[in-house]
């Protein structure tokens, strides 16, 4: 369960969002510039809310009243960025193990095999990151986040930089991930079709505020096509 109730001023723009995500996948829907990434950065701890509260399960990550702000490296929240952000000086395999090493998690061969099979990246392990296609980069980034055994996975438009053929190639992996990995996810997108296929609940964000919240089908049914950019 993810509880978010935050306020953040960013120049002229304010993000003021409150919701409680219950399902396996909580979708964050909104056009670009709506404040989705700022919100996700707050959940990851990269951005500190001016006031508010963030908790995953029983663990409070931010509580400005109590003076709590857990830094990102102690949150154990996997973050898959739109631009993958693989480390260029490391091989694919070293990238995959980075989070595990930093968290002091023991090497678990079965878990690695499971993640590698799930994402179908076995043939990429010895490559340099510069030799990967856009879709392959995103799959490796997903694997890297999963192998740190996160308590929550944040996916910020992971398909955003891919063309529709590549999107269709990755989407089945995300669905498998949701069904098999057992990690709750927050999935950010401005594509209602992606969210229909993945998310149980959707938070619609407009200009930094919650415009609608509820189960995916009913919330997205109200979305008129011109809202989609």
């Amino acid at each position: 369960m993810l509880r978010v109730d935050v306020f953040k001023k960013l120049g002229d723009f304010t993000v003021e969002v409150k919701f409680t995500g219950e399902g396996r996948v909580t979708g964050l829907f909104g056009s670009s510039g709506a404040g989705k990434t700022s919100l996700v950065n707050m959940i990851a701890g990269l951005l500190k809310p001016d006031r508010g509260f963030i908790a995953v399960g029983d663990e409070v990550l931010d509580d400005t009243l109590a003076g709590i702000h857990i830094p990102p490296h102690r949150r154990r929240i996997g973050y898959v960025f739109q631009d993958a952000r693989l480390f260029p000086h490391l091989s694919v395999l070293q990238n995959l193990h980075y989070g595990r090493r930093m968290n002091g998690v023991a090497y678990d061969h079965a878990h690695q095999d499971h993640v590698v099979d799930l994402l179908d990246i076995g043939q990429l392990l010895t490559r340099r990151t510069g030799q990967l296609s856009g879709g392959e980069r995103q799959r490796v980034a997903l694997g890297r986040a999963l192998l740190m055994q996160p308590r929550l996975l944040l996916l910020d438009e992971p398909l955003g930089s891919l063309d529709s053929a590549r999107k269709a190639e990755i989407l089945p992996y995300l669905i498998r991930l949701r069904d098999e990995a057992g990690v709750p996810m927050v999935y950010v997108s401005h594509d209602p079709n992606e969210l229909r296929r993945l998310a149980a609940q959707v938070v619609v964000i407009k200009r930094g505020h919650v415009a609608a919240f509820g189960d995916a089908e009913s919330v997205l049914a109200d979305i008129t096509p011109q809202f989609v950019d």
């Binding site: 490296h73 154990r76 973050y79 952000r85 260029p88 000086h89 930093m102 740190m148």
Partner: protein, 231 residues
């Protein structure tokens, strides 16, 4: 012509030793300062910047004299170091290394600073979400990505240290076998009759050393670009 005398070898080897020690000791400080300047805004930053570049614009004799006043036997720091730690800089090769380290510091810091500035902060953010504490982010992401710049800075600093003359001769004089580096040896040879051949030999050696340093630093710069693109 190419008969290098033992005395000339002594000067060459001493130069290499002084240059290496100066570079190796200065590098950790150089990385720390470069990182501070690349990543932080703090009060007095432009002053720190200016002080680091000062040896580049000051007459080397001035730097050497200031070193003598500070680190000489009767200097404030030099006296204390000699009395309490037994470290003497004045008229020793260690003093030459100190002078060379300070003179080459700006050339060492600049490429490191530029390469740290070029490291994508987004990669550091990604590392922190993957569980790396700030110092681990620095050691596993920032520094490896900036490494070609660090090595380029070391090569440039080394080349400068090898060629340093004014500050060194002012601070630690020109003692064969102790503080007489290639530059000082060439200078001495030009002051005596029949010194031309020996001076030219040392000139040739210093050109070779400088060329090697420049080519190496070029190579590291190319490597840096490749590394940033994950090839």
């Amino acid at each position: 012509m190419f008969d290098i005398s033992p005395a000339e070898w002594t000067a060459v080897l001493l130069s290499l030793k002084v240059g290496l020690v100066a570079t190796l000791v200065a590098t950790p400080f150089g990385i720390a300062i470069a990182w501070l300047l690349a990543r932080y805004h703090f009060w007095g930053k432009s002053l720190v910047d200016a002080v680091i570049y000062l040896p580049l614009v000051l007459p080397p004799v001035v730097t050497g004299y200031l070193l003598l006043l500070t680190f000489g036997r009767r200097g404030l720091v030099g006296g204390w170091l000699a009395d309490h730690l037994g470290i003497v800089f004045a008229f020793r090769w260690t003093g030459a290394a100190l002078a060379c380290g300070i003179m080459s510091f700006p050339l060492l810091v600049r490429p490191i600073r530029l390469s740290i500035e070029a490291v994508d902060r987004k990669l550091e953010q990604a590392a922190s979400t993957l569980g790396a504490a700030p110092w681990k982010v620095f050691l596993t992401v920032t520094l490896p990505l900036a490494l070609p710049g660090v090595l380029a800075g070391m090569v440039l600093g080394f080349a400068k240290a090898i060629g340093e003359f004014g500050a060194t001769i002012t601070f630690v004089s020109n003692i064969p076998g102790e503080t007489q580096t290639i530059s000082a040896a060439i200078y001495t040879l030009t002051q005596v009759p029949d010194g031309d051949a020996a001076a030219l030999r040392l000139v040739a050696i210093s050109i070779v050393i400088s060329m090697i340093a420049l080519v190496t630093s070029e190579w590291f710069a190319r490597r840096a670009t490749q590394r940033m693109h994950g090839r």
